[in-house]
Symmetry: D2
Subunit: 326 residues, 4 copies
């Protein structure tokens, strides 16, 4: 019997994201009134939100801050022992920061950063959302009733971070956390972008190059509809509510997902997914590597218009002169 | 640290299905002309087919036979050693049948049956489809070009088998193969239906009750679009080509998938999925258990009409008087 | 030059409908919270509503009444002189009732009934809706901003009335008002159903047989989305809000429209259209006449399940034992 | 009674279009294999085609020519006498060319041009397509079965012509032919673009400015799906078959239609409509006039990316240096 190295399945999913916003109430209005999410708690300078099909206390924490950007991303493991294994692996990289007792919605979590400095957490204990009487639905696999406001998103999908060095940061995610590389972009043989997952999704996390090698920026977070038309419906609502739409409904080549990108009022870029793209079921999946010269018109957009310059260069916090929005 | 039992991830996916057809050429015409699949090989009484986004040699083997029904279902493991582990577990149940050297499209496979007698295989070595020059696409994560005929399906999704005893057969899949129970139906406290997966899908396999406790029947196999409208497009094509549509486009409660059911000309029921339903990312997912009395109108169909009697009682081979199709 | 009789184009459109409701506030909640319509006025026992793309003061008047049913349907002509011509034609049939000075939202109107007794009005002068500052949109052909609540309908589409005699009532609409017959159902050579329009739509009005020859009932009124997916979105919302869905999303053969049917809380049946069906541009269109025996499975539903008995027999007011809703 | 001028309804519809193609067989392959149309006749250097829901002999005539461009557009009147009335009105403008006996698919037609020189015909007598046995469908309002190839279009929708002077050409269509102005663009008070119809559609014909005041160019012809998703399906097929997609799926502000633009192999621009946009039922519709400065980002595209320069300047025949396609 020919043996192969087996992947570890210790990390199960992206559990939640914290974003910073200089306009937290407007940010919350965006996620609740237009995207149909609900506030589940407020504490200090933070507001906690969830989408109607999410089972946990929250998937999004909005924290008031002088500048937009990533607070942290939290990964849930498959077990307490898997959490220990990943913590050991992270410690060995020297990027560990230590344990916290928890936060609203979850128990003990281990904090660390990517080589680029993006704050992350590993955790296992989560609090499940307790459904109120008037939120109960007969659809037993749905956590709460579909809301009657906005065009309601269903769940958090993934996060995309800008890095100063895709190769280094990708290696960290693969080696310390057990992600699998699903797609990548190479430029002259160097990895400059990567899409990684611990599940059948093409990615829970992606890395984009930050053009000035600045570290620690957020490119976007993404919520999921799974229904292509919902992108047009919410885009219409965005137009009517003066939300800046950077990329209207489009079909990515990489991931094949139907996508769109907007800026929430706090300045962070939010993506919305209109379908599941393709799913990876092959256990021996070989990463699809694009040459950068083939990406424009194929990898970025398979059906849609080329992405604007801003999409390629702007992350939060915005530290360089921002590209004009026109 | 509180420890919990970790799942095994040895089985990765449903690799292919073999169905029997008394009208193999008409069956192949159905899958190629209407569903856009391609014939990749013919051998003996069998024809091998694949969908345009599938990477393996085939996902469907159509074998001429006096009666419609299941040939076998094949599961691919994550590694050769995982294959050994699962073979040992199956052997321990007494349901193993032994190794075969392989078939067109894959290497050594271990044959066994469910307690109910459904033929299955475990395998690791698969042959990847070799793309022809005129099938090459610039969409690098797509195996071959989208066809210009029919309404082309993208990949095999799952299989549904009728059993004489859901509980026994479900236990076998969970214990010997490592499936996780995702949703179930109980009648007076007894499990009578189950949806199980080894991935983030709600199921790669489901068990339905066979009303006369007959063993080994196929309820349906399912191909995936991931695009809701495609169900209406292909349903229109079915109407024009005299394909029997048993359940027109509908939204299941269980799995939340947009579905439809038709009979291919050989008599087997084929389901088509118009989206991804919901995906299970929570590693501690608790099975959603429906009481049978709540299923009609909620679990079977969340948005759609109640399913016809035939859907509940007819499997292939058809051994009892078939429900009238009108 | 061979001459043919030219149609008259005097009647332009269905301008508004009045329905009776024994639960007017619940009816208004249904149309505003779930279908995204707005209240534009309240007067006496009546509430006036419009959809966001409608340019007139209202398309729906909900009037409190002991029983559900049709208040009246109002037709707008192409000119004041066309109004006079049609009034003369109606007077000649003996079905005229006389002029009223007007109502909120429109000027002088001529009242009459169909042979079956359905109340109708002819009018030309209408009041256009005055957009509030916060409703203004940059989409200049849209009357007001798309709302952020429910799944908002775009405009009134048509009305369907049950009659004791389709032939007589159809002749009246064709001869007195200038409608064209677009599709019809014949049973043993007798017209039992009809779809008529004054525009390129297949119908602004349809007649269904009332099984007990009762007169003057409303079968349904229909609002329009023009977006197929919106039917699934609003159906989901209906399920969560305990609205009775009589016919889930379905594709009619007659008219080819994507449709669904629900009961508003007052008891009236409301249809929702998910697309434009087909449009009739041929000026010499020959009515498509179905034999009743070919209607089930083709004419009623081309892609979808057969309609329930209730759909065929229940109108408002409900004067015979109502079909059980299960 | 206050009187108003009533419109004439003499012209009923756009009956067919002739285009020139330097690569007629490739053009025919595009319309048949990818758009699912059928060839109904060949004669001389011309091929006649129809879509599956069209009732006439053809809606498209492809004629071999050295350069791409418009052959002619043909308008059908509501009656023979309406034809005479319109011919008289055209003669009075001095733009008439005289009668022809007919062509395959229609009888006597009166030829004329717009002030800009675009060739047009007025006709009443048309030949209806005779359905073959294997094309018969149970959907009686559908002319022939839905095809199993490509993503089949349903009917011709409209034509868009580039003109040297929008105001002059628009006046001609309104005054001589009875079109109604539905939307327009003004630049410094001058009409530079117009959308006109004789039906409830926003337009059967539109005029765009030709940037160099060249006369007689074709901007595009448009076929209709009425199903939004079909745009993505056919766009995917276009990508795989190297058809140049100038504007991927997008939602116009003007007309509100879901649209996309591609070049057929002969070089002519073809638009595809994914829905019905909005329909005009108000008989006193006031033209929606856009100021050119408000058009970009609202009128051209309401949900979608700004149109490329080529879309604004390129018509066929291409007589000025063509904008680069990248």
């Amino acid at each position: 019997m020919r043996l192969i190295e087996e992947p570890n399945f210790d990390v199960a999913q992206l559990a939640h994201i914290e974003i910073f916003s200089p306009k937290p109430e407007e940010t919350v209005d965006f996620f609740t009134r237009l995207l149909g999410m609900s506030v589940t708690a407020r504490s200090g300078q933070s507001v906690y939100l969830r989408a109607y099909e999410e089972t946990y206390h929250h998937s999004l924490k909005v924290t008031e801050s002088k500048e937009a950007g990533l607070g942290h991303a939290a990964w849930r493991t498959i077990s307490p022992q898997a959490l220990q294994r990943r913590v050991e692996a992270v410690k060995a990289t020297g990027l560990g920061r230590g344990w916290i007792e928890g936060d609203l919605g979850h128990g003990a979590a281990y904090q660390f950063t990517t080589p680029d400095g993006h704050a992350m957490e590993l955790l296992y204990d989560v609090e499940y959302y307790q459904c109120k009487e008037n939120e109960k639905t007969k659809l037993l696999n749905r956590a709460t009733k579909r809301p009657d406001r906005g065009v309601p998103v269903r769940r958090l999908d993934h996060i995309n971070l800008m890095t100063s060095n895709a190769a280094t940061n990708t290696d960290f995610m693969l080696n310390a956390l057990g992600f699998r590389l699903r797609e990548g972009i190479e430029d002259n043989g160097n990895l400059i972008g990567s899409w990684m997952s611990v599940s059948n999704l093409v990615h829970e996390i992606a890395f984009m190059p930050e053009p000035n090698q600045q570290k620690g920026k957020l490119h976007h977070l993404c919520y999921w509809y799974g229904v292509p038309q919902n992108l047009y419906d919410v885009a219409d609502l965005f137009r009517e509510n003066d939300v800046f739409v950077e990329v209207p409904p489009n079909k990515h080549g990489i991931s094949q997902a139907l996508c769109m990108y907007v800026y929430e009022p706090g300045g962070n870029r939010v993506e919305l997914f209109g379908d599941a793209g393709y799913l990876i079921l092959d256990p021996a999946w070989k990463p699809v590597i694009w040459d950068m010269k083939d990406v424009p018109g194929n990898g970025d957009t398979w059906i849609g218009t080329a992405f604007p310059e801003s999409w390629w260069v702007r992350g939060t916090p915005v530290t360089v002169p921002e590209i004009a929005k026109s």
